[in-house]
Symmetry: C2
Subunit: 399 residues, 2 copies
């Protein structure tokens, strides 16, 4: 337990809070910011001046107020000149995006992965660094990159970002952060986190969970990942591995084998492979398109596809019930391929939750699909890239 | 997002931090406090003087330094004159304790419960208020009670403490806080929380989880309750119902019926009734003594008792595995009757965890029994009673 902050720390906190407001909430007048932050207008003016001098915000006439008369100036994030890079190391793709302060996606690059020689972290880092150079070359003159956030599907240690295990891409004990930092140069701040943690963060800040401090995000692709926001903060656990929802044991006796070595895990019973197997698709069939084909077949009335979604929905319901009993979330969000699976098996999931959770726990529970579509992980990676700047706007590593 | 604190808020924060240090850490010299809090000695002197004037601490010669020479004065909490009351509404007992600032138990009263006419919250409140008067009468002249914390086994809403459901004692939608406040008078600050949340808080602050910011506490009596500390804070969830570990579904197909209406819950498969049934004890056999008798029989080699503990241990292992996969705790603590059950089935629990969690997640995991014995819930209730004082030492309701 430490003592309270100094005057200088308070000023930094206020700069951080103001920049966060315009980054997440969009342009706002000084009067509105003063009201939201509980500060007087002269203090706000000083903070805005500091951030303007640093090139992080600008005061401008709002684009369209829809009202007569001279509008108040608004404080706008410097979206065109201050950006983060978001990297997503998927199971079958590598994606990079340049995201402006304020959250707008300005440009992106993507490739199928792994290509020849790219299975190793070094190969992925090579490709992403090449994307970074292309994205930087397309930015306005005088732009600066304030940080890079990268999403990896696996157990990622916090806070150093060491990838301990990423079975779906075959990595073990890989310092992917260092691989990226080597290629991006010493002036670039790089952070690595679990993909579903970043998806949860994104949905909490900008998506289907905006305004809710307690939520769970489930991300499905080859595996099932999870991220938990509890009391407004990412639940990391002791070492950063919190939220391994895919390895909740839902079927402890005689369940399907899981890639993790255990059996009966949620991922084994309700993941992509489980759905495709249940629908009678062969082992060579994989990927989001195959999942969507099963969902489409079910929508057309295909019996096997409907039975498969019913079965998978029941196991998802068991998993979600356990999340509800343990975490009392206000919202559970389905993203990645689980978005489609949820939309086709919602009745089954709800039915299981209704028998397996107490009425008090579900009275205010909402089940939602990702508000950011397929971009939630990438949006979260961008937020990770902005984190250092937002925490201390005038002292960020690349500032 | 609000602005940073004012000078006055910082002073209050510092008073709170200093009082918390001596309450939880014991007497300490001003020099030690200055070092721990990162403040200079003159600031510490001012804070100590304020707290001394308020009668919350006193500077005294340490009782025994074991060293020659004149010892430094230490700042000691006013344990004899400032106290909280801790109430525990058990399934078969009512307990009240007077606990001095600093955490020492000064006196306690307990009775079997429910007695005739006491099944209703009003009856329990009558008895606890009578205990409160007896405990106050035994306190030193000039003592003050700074708050009352009460533990109830059930779903307790946060922050108002409404008891939504407490099936093991038959309460529904009961404002037990108001029942207590009516009897204790308007000057007494009363708070109510779930028993396992309070157990978790106690173990985190003073017990087997001290020094760890991520832990789960499992409390067994007639049911199984749970409390989660994540990132150093109690995980409450959206409405305060977080940590319903007893209702994790561990056996979703064909599991035993649970009192909650579901089946296959951890409480149904590994609670008191499950153990006693598995050991062939009749339905009239209940309570901690009966559980201990099964554990003792197993220790003596009784085959049925050993098989029962083996079975219950396996289900506990499934439940703990799910906690580990989801929360990445550093410590899982077994309290109440689960203390004895754990000690007799640790091998089975560990075995299940070893097959059902990833090695990375269990590499630093510790399984421990409650460090506060049977008192963890009561210790947590006392901390709840002290919470308002510790948050704002000079402005607490009874201050």
């Amino acid at each position: 337990m430490r003592a309270g902050p100094s005057q200088e720390e308070i000023r930094r906190h206020n700069l951080s809070t103001l920049l966060r407001h315009v980054h997440l909430g969009g342009p706002a007048s000084r009067a509105v910011l003063a009201d939201r932050m509980g500060l007087n207008r002269s203090t706000i003016l000083g903070l805005v001046n500091d951030l303007t001098t640093a090139g992080l915000v600008a005061e401008e006439t709002p684009r369209d107020t829809g009202r007569a008369g001279r509008p108040s100036l608004v404080v706008r994030p410097a979206a065109d000149h201050v950006y983060a890079l978001a990297f997503d190391v998927g199971v079958d793709h590598l994606t990079a995006a340049r995201v402006g302060l304020g959250g707008a996606f300005l440009a992106r690059r993507s490739t199928a992965w792994p290509g020849a020689g790219e299975r190793e972290p070094g190969g992925a880092a090579d490709r992403l660094a090449a994307f970074a150079r292309e994205l930087a070359a397309g930015a306005a003159p005088g732009s600066r990159c304030v940080g890079v956030g990268a999403a990896v599907r696996g157990l990622v240690r916090h806070p150093d970002g060491l990838v301990r295990r990423a079975p779906n891409i075959g990595w073990t004990e890989q310092d992917f952060r260092a691989e990226l930092a080597d290629r991006l140069g010493p002036d670039t701040s790089v952070a690595v986190d679990n993909e579903a943690n970043l998806g949860a963060l994104a949905e909490h800040l900008r998506g289907a969970g905006a305004g809710f401090d307690d939520l769970v995000y489930l991300h499905g692709d080859a595996g099932i990942g999870g991220g938990i926001i509890a009391g407004g903060r990412l639940l990391r656990g002791a070492d950063g591995y919190g939220g391994e929802v895919g390895h909740l044991i839902v079927n402890p006796r005689g369940g399907r084998r899981c890639g993790c070595g255990s059996s009966g895990c949620l991922e084994a019973e309700a993941g992509e492979r489980a759905l495709l197997d249940a629908a009678g698709r062969g082992p060579e069939t994989t990927g989001p398109a195959a999942v969507r084909a099963v969902v489409d077949a079910a929508d057309r009335g295909d019996i096997a596809a409907r039975a498969a979604l019913h079965q998978v929905g029941d196991w998802l319901g068991v998993g979600v019930s356990n999340l509800v009993n343990l975490l009392n979330p206000r919202v559970v969000i389905f993203g990645g391929i689980l978005r489609d699976v949820y939309l086709s098996s919602a009745a089954q999931i709800r039915s299981r939750i209704n028998t397996s959770t107490h009425a008090v726990l579900r009275e205010s529970l909402r089940l939602r699909v990702s508000g950011l579509g397929t971009d939630s992980v990438l949006v979260g990676a961008a937020e990770l890239g902005f984190a250092a700047l937002l925490a201390d706007p005038l002292e960020s590593p690349a500032g």
